[in-house]
């Protein structure tokens, strides 16, 4: 009698990104000679399990949005694989697919946008905005669409009677709910949220985040959540990946990453999170210098010019992503030997 193999993670990941790269050529002159490459996303790998939330964090310009858009194939990746578990449980690599081949898969993955003002057509009413995905994907019957739109509006906490109104009549938070309703119209399984709350007031942020969490529970959604606000990430994400100048520097489950970061960059990001307790003084790590340009990154570890712990090897050799504990990957030569502090509370 053979014992079944004990595998801690038997199901293949819902979404697996392998060595994703996105380069933009820098051209010069009339003949558009390529003189350099902007490595917006450079060899990024991560995976998400079904029903979980992956947070992608980093400073502006670090490539997190580009990564998210490549995953959705709104952008053409330069290289790498994007393995997606489709509804009929086959795995498809999204990276090389053409626009036409992508169309049937589109409904399984949708996006929530950062700017609640730019993401809704000002000349369409809510019925047309939320109903558009239904119309495009084969629901020509107006009555049916009306019912579904009413249902979706209810789902995101808006009154169905608002259907005839135009976006300008709504506040930022309400608009973001409209955007969420539109994203959910086709029953997607993967939702990419690109900074969905960073344009909102703090009080409204919490409402929208709770809505997202609730929808995830009710509809079994998987989120790829792009953010720069770590307190938001801590609230909503199961796993976090930290990016710096197009590269992944650390990834782990949220708890591990927040309590025991292994990369000095992660630690400095964490030290910038405000602590809502006046008696605790955080010992902020202030980074000096600027984020290097992805067109002209420094040699070795991209972070070494700003790193307090940099040694000689950091200046010459680019560190590889290595596992320091199960599920915790860091790309730092000195990972594990540094006295880094996470979130105190």
């Amino acid at each position: 009698m053979a014992r079944p193999e004990t595998n801690p993670d038997p199901a293949p990941p819902f979404l697996e990104v392998r060595s994703l790269t996105k380069y933009y050529p820098i051209t010069k002159g009339f003949r558009r000679r390529v003189t350099g490459l902007v490595k917006a996303v450079d060899d990024v790998s991560f995976s998400i399990r079904e029903g979980e939330t992956m947070g992608l964090v980093g400073e502006s310009g670090c490539g997190k949005t580009t990564t998210a858009r490549c995953v959705l194939r709104a952008l053409e990746p330069t290289g790498g694989q994007i393995l997606f578990q489709t509804a009929d449980s086959g795995t498809v690599d999204l990276a090389p697919l053409s626009r036409r081949e992508l169309r049937p898969l589109r409904r399984q993955m949708q996006m929530i946008f950062q700017d609640p003002f730019g993401s809704l057509n000002p000349r369409m009413n809510l019925f047309d905005i939320v109903g558009e995905p239904l119309l495009v994907n084969g629901m020509p019957n107006r009555k049916e669409r009306q019912e579904r739109v009413a249902e979706l509006l209810g789902l995101v906490g808006l009154r169905p009677e608002y259907m005839q109104r135009f976006p300008h009549a709504f506040s930022g938070g309400q608009r973001q709910r409209i955007g969420i309703a539109r994203a959910l119209a086709l029953n997607p399984r993967l939702v990419v949220a690109d900074e969905p709350v960073s344009a909102l007031d703090v009080s409204v942020q919490a409402q929208v985040l709770n809505l997202l969490l609730e929808l995830q529970e009710r509809l079994g959604l998987t989120y790829l959540f792009v953010a720069h606000d770590l307190s938001v990430v801590k609230h909503i994400c199961d796993h976090v990946a930290v990016m710096y100048v197009g590269k992944l520097v650390e990834t782990a489950d949220t708890k591990t990453l927040f309590y025991s970061p292994k990369h000095p960059y992660t630690a400095s990001l964490l030290s910038a999170v405000p602590i809502p307790d006046p008696r605790l003084r955080s010992e902020g790590i202030e980074l000096s210098g600027e984020v290097p340009s992805p067109a002209n990154p420094p040699p070795g570890c991209y972070f070494h010019p700003r790193c307090a712990y940099a040694i000689d090897v950091c200046k010459t050799q680019s560190p590889l992503l290595r596992q320091v504990s199960p599920g915790h990957f860091v790309s730092c030569h000195r990972a594990g030997e540094l006295p880094l502090q996470g979130i105190v509370t």
Binding site: L72, A74, R103, R106, R107, Q110, M111, F113, Q114, D115, G118, S119, L120, N121, P122, R123, M124, E132, P133, V136, N137, G154, G157, L158, R159, R165, F166, H168, A169, F170, S171, G173, Q174, G179, R182, A183, L186, V204, Q207, N210, L211, E214
Partner: protein
């Protein structure tokens, strides 16, 4: 869900519809309202010309040439004894027709080419814009004259000539607007849904160009009217005995000292109509301006 169904952020009072504000802003502009009023009168005259005109505008009456303005002939008669007032009333028909039809045709062409150019970009854009620049770099009257000389003088050919000249400006405006819109997130959202390019252009981009197009429309009409008048004046537009204002100015200019009304009256009619369109266009632009920017 209960605490989410109606959060405190749900606005109790919603702002008035935008068009009400636009109408109010338009109404505050007196010149624009006057322009609109004049144009309504002109349109009425054009429709009701046979009822309003005291005489047949084409009937030649020998022995009644160059009558001074009087109760019988409010603006006198011309060199063929035709009643100038009646001819001016009938002239509104040609002028409005010339104002509207070529403008509609040229703007339709301009909208299509502008959308395609801005949306697809690259080589298509380069070609269309090169063509537009060529048209724009030519004096438009000269270009229209070339077309008219080649095709011959007729009303239909005036339509063709003015359309061939007029599309480039519209194409440029629509292209610029398309470029500004096509990277908006709602376009990307629509693409992510799987909407086809044509549907994106017609449903998302075109409606957002409408305020600009409305202004452009009211400002293009007087251009067309003036071009027709110029072409007719030069003898390659409307042909005698048509009651065209441009033609009437041309015919009357020889008698400017003996019977000034024959040339001046249709000139004033052109002036008033064109000014009215310009006032309307300016008023619309000002009223829509804050919405054009957003």
């Amino acid at each position: 869900m209960s605490d989410l169904t109606l959060g405190p952020e749900v606005a109790q009072t919603l702002p008035e519809p935008v068009w009400k504000e636009i109408v109010a802003a338009f109404a505050r502009n007196r010149l624009a309202v006057v322009g609109l009023g004049i144009l309504l009168i002109v349109a009425f005259v054009a429709l009701a010309a046979p009822l309003l005109a005291p005489y047949d505008p084409y009937k030649v009456k020998l022995g009644e040439q160059f009558l001074n303005p009087s109760w019988n002939h409010p603006i006198g008669t011309d060199m063929f004894g035709r009643d100038v007032f009646s001819r001016i009333l009938y002239g509104t028909r040609i002028s409005l027709l010339i104002g509207l039809v070529p403008t509609l045709i040229s703007m339709t062409i301009g909208v299509i080419l502008g959308l395609v150019s801005g949306y697809f970009g690259r080589r298509v854009d380069f070609l269309i814009m090169m063509l537009a620049d060529m048209v724009l770099s030519f004096p438009s009257l000269l270009l229209a004259m070339i077309v008219m000389y080649t095709l011959g003088a007729s009303l239909l050919n005036i339509f063709i000539a003015l359309s061939a000249v007029g599309w480039a400006g519209t194409a440029r405006v629509v292209r610029a607007q398309t470029l500004a819109l096509k990277n908006k997130e709602f376009i990307e959202a629509s693409r992510a849904i799987g909407t086809k390019d044509i549907a994106i252009m017609l449903k998302h981009i075109l409606p957002n160009c409408l305020p600009q197009l409305l202004v452009l429309f009211t400002l293009n009409i007087p251009d067309s009217i003036l071009s027709e008048a110029s072409l007719s004046f030069l003898g390659i537009g409307a042909q005698p005995p048509a009651a065209s204002w441009g033609l009437m100015v041309a015919g009357g200019r020889e008698f400017l000292f003996n019977a000034p009304w024959v040339a001046i009256a249709p000139g004033i009619a052109i002036l008033i109509t064109v000014l009215a369109f310009n006032f309307l266009g300016d008023g619309l632009r000002d009223a829509l301006d804050p919405y054009l920017k957003s």
